[in-house]
Symmetry: C2
Subunit: 199 residues, 2 copies
DNA sequence: CCTCAAGTTGAGATTCACCTCAACTTAGCT
DNA sequence: AGCTAAGTTGAGGTGAATCTCAACTTGAGG
């Protein structure tokens, strides 16, 4: 790859990162190119589809989430670990409207290892007796979707209230809060399609 | 109003109702006109803006929610009343993607009397000791937004799981589940803007 | 039956975003 | 210095949705 091409790639990624962060994933590509000081043709050269650009912009997040998961597993208290992980992911969402959008659509921890780690965090918290026994990995989507919706709605007007939403939600996930659930959890397949279906 | 005009108005409302219900509020107006068997010009004649059409389509819901609230207040158990009300609103959301969209944007119970009734339901449930003391009317937006997000994501693939999300959320609202909340509630003004800000 | 205000029509103007490609420019090799 | 593959450019085609308006049609009162 020629050095000017690489340079332009960087500029595009920087522009996209910043625009996605405060306007969400639906920013016009033309605007990203303009902000990067590059023509629309160049953008399409580097990133033939929007998805590839998004991929590239949020590449690092996969590792971030994995680290988050490992740090959580390393914590002494299983419940605290669980909370730290969920809160950490939500923090990422709240810090970046683009990632928030992506989280809704299934970008978070979408690797098999990501899910495996999350599964571990959940099981450990359940074994410790703090996390209710009747929730599954798939139920975490509710937390992500819910907080994402609140983040989207309150991003500008009350940045930070999402923590209140999350706290209420977590209180519902404690074993001590458990009351029988009215419906079976989603299957992994359902969860996957639900995440990719999102507009 | 001439009788053919009235007739066309009805056809437009019927078409819009049905399209909104299963595709959300962003259906193209041309499609609504076509479905109604009427020209786009007529649609614009009757409803100069999309908002006016939406208004007309969901006019009845205000009363429905008010009834729901009154029926809930009439229930013996305050907590059951609270749950019945919230669940009732969510049921409306789940039954109609358009109303689900509208709920996100602040259409639900947006009358002063609607809020007043909801306030009563909450206070009563708190006085009974079942609903946690530290939540406010504004926190109900989290429930609505959260369930709305889940409804949107799972509408086709797992219609009904939203009940599970709601059940988990309600478990977090019980007094017995309460743990200190990390952030103050939204102010009414913030809630209002947050609702109207939504995309 | 006549009249005309009320209502309808749909072709086209407008806007906005996506995407392409032929002509141009340039990095980097020899 | 000269060559060429790699890269850039942006005007313009495409498509989808919104909105307008001048010409036409029709309900209903007299």
């Amino acid at each position: 790859m020629r050095k000017d091409a690489l340079h332009n790639r960087e500029r595009l990624l920087r522009a996209a990162r910043s625009l996605f962060a405060d306007r969400g994933l639906d920013v016009p590509l033309e605007e990203i190119a303009r902000t990067a000081g590059v023509s629309i043709g160049t953008l399409y050269n580097r990133f033939p589809t929007r998805a590839e650009l998004v991929e590239a912009v949020f590449e690092d997040r996969v590792a971030t989430v994995a680290e988050l998961a490992e740090r959580s597993l390393a914590m002494d208290d299983a419940w605290e670990g669980f909370v730290a992980f969920i809160a950490g992911v939500c923090e990422l969402q709240a810090a970046d409207l683009g990632y928030n959008d992506l989280a809704i659509r299934g970008g978070t921890a979408d690797t098999d290892t990501g899910y495996a780690l999350m599964q571990q965090i959940i099981e450990r918290a359940q074994e410790s007796g703090a996390l209710r026994d009747d929730v599954t990995l798939e139920d975490m989507a509710f937390v992500i979707w819910g907080v994402a919706a609140t983040v989207r709605a309150t991003f500008r007007v009350a940045p930070g209230v999402w923590r209140r939403h999350l706290a209420l939600t977590l209180d519902g996930l404690r074993a001590t809060a458990a009351h029988p659930l009215p419906a079976p959890p989603m299957t992994p397949a359902q969860t996957r399609t639900a995440m990719n279906n999102c507009p």
